[in-house]
Symmetry: C2
Subunit: 370 residues, 2 copies
Amino acid sequence: MSKIYVAIIGAGGVGKAFISQLASYSSRNPSLNITPILISRSKTALISPDYSGLSLSNWASDLASATTPPPAFPTETLKFLSTAPGPVILVDNTSDEAIASSYPQFLSAGIHIVTPNKKGFSSSIDLWNGIYSAAKNGDNANGKGGFVFHEASVGAGLPVLSTLKELVETGDKIRKIEGVFSGTMSFLFNSFAPLSGDNGGKGFAECVVQAKELGYTEPDPRDDLNGLDVARKLTILARLSGLAVPSPTSFPIQSLIPSELETAKSAEEFLEGLPRFDGEMTKKKTDAEASGSVIRYVGSLNVERKEVKVGLESFAKSSSIAGLQGSDNIISFYTERYGANPLIVQGAGAGAEVTAMGVLGDLIKVVQRL
Amino acid sequence: MSKIYVAIIGAGGVGKAFISQLASYSSRNPSLNITPILISRSKTALISPDYSGLSLSNWASDLASATTPPPAFPTETLKFLSTAPGPVILVDNTSDEAIASSYPQFLSAGIHIVTPNKKGFSSSIDLWNGIYSAAKNGDNANGKGGFVFHEASVGAGLPVLSTLKELVETGDKIRKIEGVFSGTMSFLFNSFAPLSGDNGGKGFAECVVQAKELGYTEPDPRDDLNGLDVARKLTILARLSGLAVPSPTSFPIQSLIPSELETAKSAEEFLEGLPRFDGEMTKKKTDAEASGSVIRYVGSLNVERKEVKVGLESFAKSSSIAGLQGSDNIISFYTERYGANPLIVQGAGAGAEVTAMGVLGDLIKVVQRL
């Protein structure tokens, strides 16, 4: 088999885990001739200008000492990749919207894309349409479009998008999708409002600080608490279910940032002010407990009613959503064929290793279709 | 695109649902040129000898009035299929071991196979090896082998095998797989030993009769109660996890057929005798309740210890397995990457529509790889 060229943008947590998994996959499958030709981060890059391939054995130290800037994006990168003497898979391990907005150009040039980056699929519907009209597994099936897969954009390595796609492709009717889509929100409410009811007297603000210290939140926890991450995931699920949601903010999203703190100038200032609002959140928790329930931060989409929403809801303590542990995600698909009891996928929905696994799984899907 | 030929063996519950879903898929995707050339049941068949294709609009009544016998299996069928002027997908919707034992021949001839039939993958390890050494997605990747997919052989349409394969292919280490793998056993124990503890005083035998009347068991409930169906599913999961289990009876299987009733000459005689053993099962249930648990019929495989087993176990009432509803299946994958909290897939694991969906999903996988 001829070589399969791989270009990797982003070498942070997920990128590192991905490259390590790719190196191992490549050595287990030598006949595939996986050939890395680009590993780039914002300022520097490793490039194999003659397409002979980069070694993955010392890539991290090689990149640390590299001085070559990455090829300009998109023009030079596109030129370099589309001149490769064989199929190219572009792995975008960033969360960069500018990179995502160039996917249509890369796909049109026959370059395949696998990515955990939500931006391309959850921003404007125009970008979504641009991507899927250029992709071979979209409207460009008979042209020279590249394949695009983004399993890890929802639920990391959990089989969420592949399951949804198969339900739709085989003709099932999606009625509702509901779940906990954020590891941060899962951890936060599992600690603030545990099934036992007793969290040791911690207020909501204290739980946020703890989650941040344990690495469960973004560096600025407001990026989790504003609900936009969950809204982006719902946007992707809605679009794959046939609802042409125009943007990730075109439906109700309950932000957990108190309006009085929206103008806080830093994460520190925000966290300092947050305890003043503990009373409100404690009331919500206590109200739920009075009816045998717990509060959880969920996203849901009702395809029949064309409704998408993200926010806090109460769930009976016996429900699957209430029983979730740690930072796990849970996604329930209610469909015509599955009837009253949904098809459920559950497990870690964040973390470098499981996210990288979702990306590598997508790369394998491309390889199997070459 | 040239035509994709499809041959369907078996037109019972799953077969009927599959053909209906295929007809609908085909009309949604006319460019694929899905061309059915054979629909057969034991005595009669619809055949398109010139490969021009059968109409799926009246297939059921056409088959009901058909007098043509099916082509002899395997020789004539193989000849007919391998002479087709394009790719052929053989859909085996039977549970016939004789058909399954011919898969290697069909795969070697480049014919693709999709099936919910467990027999090919859960009988002798020699047959398994024969299948996977002939298959293109096995050791015959560079030859002209056909693809083989059998998602619906475990958990019907639930993404069980695809998830396991992706975990393995991306280099995760499977530690343990545990779950409820039988809709019958799920229903039976959810009614006999519900979470509430109160089943209205029904003994185990009465629950079996009720499950049979509601259509949850095989015509002869002993075919469920002997545990072999679950053992076959565990055999498949074990082999995909890298344990070369020699046969579906090469590990401990707890049969729920009392030894005194093993010689019963009919299902009726068996069901008549069963109430005499209600006391034993009630004791197991009561013992579990005393420690806040319920009994469930589960299968598990521990890859590190190379242990596979099937039988009754107690589960804490707060566990996912105990909380299962109706006839749902639940499958928990414990892996290195997922750590303490497993990746869980849950939902209906039996029924014609969801089984057919698993088969059609596999057919789509083949189509995407052509």
